[in-house]
């Protein structure tokens, strides 16, 4: 019975992540690539994402401190970051990236800074939620051993 409850919990968390717009379709694509040969694929990719993007973020931080702002460089960096965020289905983070790039094109430094702060918030929130999700999923164990309600 415990197992069923755990799995329901995991499913509920996942549903809310989608309902609240934190994740999109791309996350499902990642899940579909997971199999016996790659049993922890999604978690591995998300871990890679957070490790890799922290470098980009600190880069963006430094570049935003300059005076005058180098909008081309900011746009290039954000383009890379957006690409990675898109790969894991980070919907809200991706939306902020798009906004940021628009501010870059408009040469709006204040807009860039604001949107960057917002993006970092979304990024951190998603990280916590995904950590919880993966932890529970690991505890719940493989789905085959639990009853799957229709």
């Amino acid at each position: 019975m415990d197992k069923i409850h755990s799995h329901r919990q995991v499913a509920a968390i996942k549903h809310s992540l989608f309902d609240q717009g934190y994740l999109d379709e791309q996350f499902i694509q990642l899940e579909e690539l997971q199999d016996d040969a790659n049993p922890n694929f999604v978690e591995e990719i998300v871990t890679l994402y957070y490790r890799d993007s922290s470098r980009l973020i600190s880069n963006l931080d430094h570049t935003l401190e300059r005076n005058p702002l180098d909008f081309n460089k900011l746009d290039t960096l954000m383009h890379q970051f957006k690409g990675s965020s898109s790969s894991i289905g980070a919907k809200r983070v991706k939306a902020e990236c798009t906004l940021f790039r628009e501010y870059c094109r408009a040469r709006n430094g204040e807009g860039c800074r604001r949107s960057f702060q917002q993006m970092k918030k979304e990024y951190a929130t998603l990280r916590k939620k995904l950590e919880t999700y993966f932890q529970l999923a690991r505890q719940a164990g493989p789905l085959e051993t639990a009853y799957r309600p229709k």
Partner: protein, 209 residues
Amino acid sequence: MAKYYSEKSPTALTILAIDKDPEVLELIKKGCNKYSYEVMTFTDTLPAVDVLRGNRDDFNLILMDLHMPGMDGYEFLRFVRREEFFAPVIVMSSEENRLSAGMAFLLGACDYWVKPLGEYLFQTVWTHVYRKYLNEKRKQKDNEKLEDDNQKRETNEDAVVVSSVGETPSSEDGDVIESNKSGPVNPQLPSAGSSRPQRRTKTKNRKGK
């Protein structure tokens, strides 16, 4: 494994290339012609999949665009692994993205090329085939050695039983010596087994050839 790699002509490759951009395929053809590789190109994934399934041993290297419509590079990598094709897969992307590369490698890609491709890439592309061949050969030797050791151990155990019994055993004492072995104490070693190199056991997920 015979067709996968030819000792006589180690740089003679037959390549399968999939990319939605015909210009990229033209460049690939040019590179292949320069180094005398055979190449078959596709702008769609599914026809390439059909050809691969129907000609398993004919290709020893695959070039695959990561961002194909329909079945993309990642799904293709999974397909190659599941259906146990030997050919190493090199993925190609028009953007340099560490996360994409990480995903591709975790799914089994052996290299990650960023477009536009340079002709120089084709000069040493045979090394990916050679590397895989050497690794598989070593694995096979290790497995053979394992079987060999197991066999020897069984034989020694039999010998110990016989000597403790004292006299030559009657048939009742069991098939201790004669059993399935073809001769006396040093039976012939079984042949190397299947023509496929041994892999980690996993459930096969064939959709049928």
